[in-house]
C-alpha cells in the first residue's frame, strides 16, 4: 500500500491545490497516451482517454483509503493514477511492453495492480461491477474495514448486471460503492438516447442503496459527496454516486465524434474541472507561478513515461503460454508441440 502514501494521494481533507495536482497529472498522462498512439507506439488504437473526467477519479479516490479495492472500466487510466499508479508502468502496459503492469498481456483495458487494490480494468461494459460485491463481502467477512468501489460509465447503467450487483450489496449491507462517471455519452449514444430515466441515482434508491448525483465541475463537490457515500458504505449502507462531466474528445483515439455538434462540444469542454480549479485557486490567492509549477512538474513526469514505454522490450514470445494457469500447474500444450509429436509418432 505504501505506494499510495508515497504519492501522497489526496484525502477528504486535502486542499484544492493537491486535488488540482492530481487532476493535472491525469490530464497530462492522457495527453501523452494520445501522443504514444500518434507515434504508432501504442498497442492498438483502443485507447479511451478520461480527459474531462479527472474530478471523478480524484474526488472519489480522495475518500478511499489504502486497502480499499476497486474495479474500473475501459476508460480507467485516471482512476488508477489517482489511486497511486506508476505512470511509467501504465504507459508501458498501454504500449504492450514487458515492463508494463501486466507485462504487455493486458493493455489499456486490462490494467490491474493488486498492490494498489486495483482488481482490474475491463473491456466488457459492466463486466467489472459484480467483482466489488465479492470484494466487499470479503472485506466485511475479514473485518478489514475496507470498501470496494466499482467505477463505470453511463453506458453501463443499461447493463442488467449492475442491478443484480446493487441489489445484493444492499441485501447484505456490504461496503460496496457504485460510481457512475456520467460523461453524457456512450460511444455515439447520448445518455438521453439510452434511457428515459436520466436521474441515474434514483435507480439506486429504488434498490435500497443510498445515492446521489453530483456535478463534477468542482472537484470539491465530488470530494464531499464521495466522503458521504464512502462513509455510509463503511458503515454498511452501500452507495451509488453519479458524477456529471463531459467526454471532451472522441470515444477512442480514432473517433472524431461527428455525432456531436461543435456547439455542444465547446460547451462541454468549457465545463472543465481543471480550468475551474485553476480559477478557484487564483481566487483563493494561489499565485499563477505556483500553479504553473504543478503543470510543469506533471509535464516533466509524464514526458518520461513515453521514453520509458518506447525503450522497454516487447514481451518474450515464450511468455505466451505462461499465466494461463498458476505456475507449476499443467499448462496448455502449444499447437507446435502437438504437431511435432503427432508427426513423430505416425
Amino acid at each position: 500500500m505504501t505506494q499510495i502514501a508515497d504519492r501522497s494521494a489526496p484525502t477528504s481533507n486535502t486542499g484544492l491545490l493537491e486535488l488540482y495536482t492530481a487532476m493535472r497529472r491525469i490530464r497530462t498522462f492522457e495527453e501523452r497516451v494520445g501522443e504514444l498512439f500518434v507515434r504508432g507506439e501504442s498497442a492498438g488504437s483502443m485507447l479511451h482517454l478520461s480527459i474531462g473526467e479527472e474530478s471523478a477519479a480524484v474526488g472519489v479516490s480522495s475518500a478511499m483509503k489504502p486497502g480499499d479495492t476497486f474495479t474500473t472500466h475501459h476508460r480507467g487510466h485516471g482512476i488508477f493514477l489517482a489511486r497511486g499508479a506508476d505512470p511509467k508502468r501504465m504507459m508501458a502496459e498501454i504500449a504492450g511492453k514487458e515492463t508494463g503492469y501486466c507485462h504487455g498481456k493486458g493493455g489499456s483495458m486490462h490494467i490491474a495492480d493488486m498492490g494498489l487494490g486495483h482488481l482490474g480494468a475491463n473491456a466488457i461494459v459492466g463486466g467489472g461491477i459484480p467483482a466489488v460485491v465479492g470484494a466487499a463481502l470479503v472485506a466485511r467477512r475479514k473485518e478489514t474495514g475496507a470498501v470496494s468501489v466499482a467505477f463505470f460509465g453511463d453506458g453501463a447503467m443499461q447493463q442488467g448486471i449492475l442491478y443484480e450487483s446493487m441489489n445484493m450489496a444492499a441485501l447484505w449491507g456490504l461496503p460496496a460503492i457504485f460510481v457512475c462517471i456520467n460523461n453524457q455519452w456512450g460511444m455515439g449514444t447520448r445518455i438521453d438516447q439510452a434511457t428515459r430515466a436520466t436521474a441515474l441515482h434514483e435507480r439506486a434508491l429504488a434498490f435500497g442503496l443510498s445515492g446521489e448525483t453530483v456535478d463534477g465541475l468542482d472537484v470539491r463537490n465530488v470530494q464531499d459527496a464521495a466522503a458521504r457515500i464512502v462513509d455510509g458504505a463503511r458503515a454498511g449502507t452501500p452507495g451509488f454516486l453519479a458524477v456529471d462531466c463531459y467526454r471532451h474528445f472522441g470515444h477512442a483515439r480514432k473517433d472524431k465524434s461527428p455525432y456531436r455538434s461543435e456547439a455542444e462540444e465547446d460547451e462541454g469542454r468549457a465545463r472543465d474541472p481543471l480550468a475551474f480549479a485553476r480559477a478557484a485557486l487564483a481566487e483563493a490567492g494561489h499565485a499563477a507561478p505556483a500553479v504553473d509549477a504543478v503543470d510543469d512538474a506533471a509535464a516533466a513526469e509524464m514526458d518520461s513515461t513515453i521514453d520509458y514505454a518506447i525503450g522497454s522490450n516487447e514481451p518474450q514470445i515464450a511468455s505466451m503460454f505462461r499465466d494461463v494457469f498458476a505456475p507449476g500447474e499443467p499448462e496448455p500444450e502449444p499447437v507446435q508441440t502437438r504437431l511435432d509429436r503427432v508427426m513423430a509418432t505416425s
Partner: protein, 324 residues
C-alpha cells in the same frame, strides 16, 4: 468403509473443506436454508451458518461475478449454479473474467473459485434443464473442468477442486445423486488430473466420464458375455485431460469409442476422437466411433429424452460394429 450416496459425498467434501479452510464458503440460490435444489448442501447451514452458506437472489451473472471478486480478494467461493443450463447467462463472468484474469493481469492474481453445478438428462426436465454443456467449458482457455462419475470422485474431485489455484467448473450429474457406494474416504485420494481405468479389456477402449461411465460399464458387461473385452476409462477431469493414461490402452487395443452425453458436433466427443485419431493414428484398426448426444434439444417426453442420449445399448451396439 461406509455407504454413501454421491450427494452425501459432495456434502462431505464441502463440510470437510469448510472445516479445514475458513475461507471456503458457498454462494448461490437456495444453498442455505433450502439445502440446495438437489439437497447437496442440506444441513450445512446449521454447522457453518448463513454467512458461509450464502443464499442469493436469482441473479446468476451477479452470483458468478461476486464469486470472482471474492476469489480475487482472498477467499474461496463455491458458487452454485442450480442447473448447468443457466450457464449461458454467466458466460461473460466465467469465460471473459474468471478464466482470463490471471493471464490478462500478467500472473499477478488468480481466481481460485469453484463453480458447482449439475447437468444431464434423467428427470424429464425439458430442454432448459437437461443439457450437458461441458464442451463450452472444455473449449475455454483458463478453466479447469471436473465431472465425477463415482461416489468416491464426488468427494475427492471436489476436495481437489477446492485446493486449485485456478477456476474450476465442477459439473455433477443429476441422475447420480442417489447412487450409493461403499467408500473409504480416508484412503489416499486419487490424483487430480488423472484418468481412471475402471475396467480392463484388450479388444477396445471406451473413453467416457460422468454418468455415461455407468452405461459404458454395463455395456462392457454385456459385451464380455459375447466375448468382447472392453477397457473402460473414466476421464474424471476434462481439463486437465489425461491422455497419457489413454494412449497405451488405445495403442494396444487399436480400437476406441468415445462417449459423451453432450451434443455430438463440436463437443467433447469430437475433441476425444480427434485427439485419439491424431495421436494413435498408426495403431487404429478402425475409426474412433463417437457415441454422443444427438444434435437436438432435449424433450420433456421421457421417451424422446432417453432416445436423445447414449445408453448402454447404444454403446454396446457401437462396440459390436467396431469389432465386426
Amino acid at each position: 468403509m461406509e455407504t454413501l450416496t454421491y450427494r452425501d459425498a459432495l456434502r462431505r467434501a464441502l463440510s470437510d473443506a469448510m472445516r479445514e479452510d475458513p475461507d471456503v464458503f458457498v454462494i448461490g440460490e437456495e444453498v442455505g436454508r433450502y439445502g440446495g435444489a438437489y439437497g447437496v448442501t442440506k444441513g450445512l447451514i446449521d454447522e457453518f451458518g448463513p454467512e458461509r452458506l450464502l443464499d442469493t437472489p436469482i441473479s446468476e451473472p451477479g452470483i458468478v461475478g461476486t464469486a470472482v471478486g471474492a476469489a480475487m480478494a482472498g477467499m474461496r467461493p463455491v458458487a452454485e449454479l442450480m442447473y448447468v443450463d443457466f450457464i449461458g447467462m454467466t458466460m461473460d463472468q466465467l469465460c471473459n473474467q474468471a478464466a482470463k484474469i490471471r493471464y490478462m493481469f500478467g500472473g499477478q492474481i488468480g481466481v481460485p473459485m469453484v463453480l458447482r453445478t449439475q447437468g444431464g438428462t434423467g428427470r424429464s426436465a425439458g430442454a432448459q434443464h437437461s443439457q450437458s454443456l461441458e464442451a463450452y467449458i472444455m473449449h475455454t482457455p483458463g478453466l479447469r473442468l471436473a465431472m465425477p462419475a463415482t461416489v468416491g470422485d464426488a468427494y475427492h474431485l471436489l476436495r481437489h477442486a477446492l485446493r486449485q489455484p485456478d477456476p474450476v467448473v465442477f459439473i455433477e450429474h443429476k441422475a447420480l445423486y442417489a447412487q450409493s457406494e461403499d467408500v473409504d474416504l480416508s484412503a489416499a485420494a486419487p490424483d487430480w488430473g488423472k484418468a481412471a481405468v475402471r475396467r480392463a479389456g484388450s479388444d477396445l477402449v471406451i473413453v467416457t466420464y460422468s454418468r455415461q461411465l455407468h452405461y459404458a460399464l454395463d455395456a462392457a458387461e454385456t459385451l464380455s458375455a459375447e466375448g468382447i473385452e472392453a477397457a473402460v476409462v473414466d476421464l474424471r477431469t476434462l481439463n486437465p485431460l489425461d491422455f497419457d493414461t489413454l494412449r497405451p490402452l488405445v495403442e494396444a487395443a487399436g480400437r476406441a469409442i468415445v462417449v459423451s452425453e453432450g451434443p455430438m458436433t463440436a463437443g467433447v466427443a469430437a475433441e476425444l476422437a480427434a485427439r485419439i485419431s491424431e495421436e494413435c493414428f498408426d495403431f487404429l484398426e478402425n475409426p474412433v466411433l463417437r457415441v454422443a448426444g444427438e444434435d437436438i434439444p432435449i424433450s420433456v417426453s421421457t421417451e424422446l429424452e432417453t432416445g436423445s442420449v447414449p445408453s448402454a445399448a447404444s454403446i454396446a451396439d457401437a462396440a459390436r460394429r467396431l469389432m465386426s
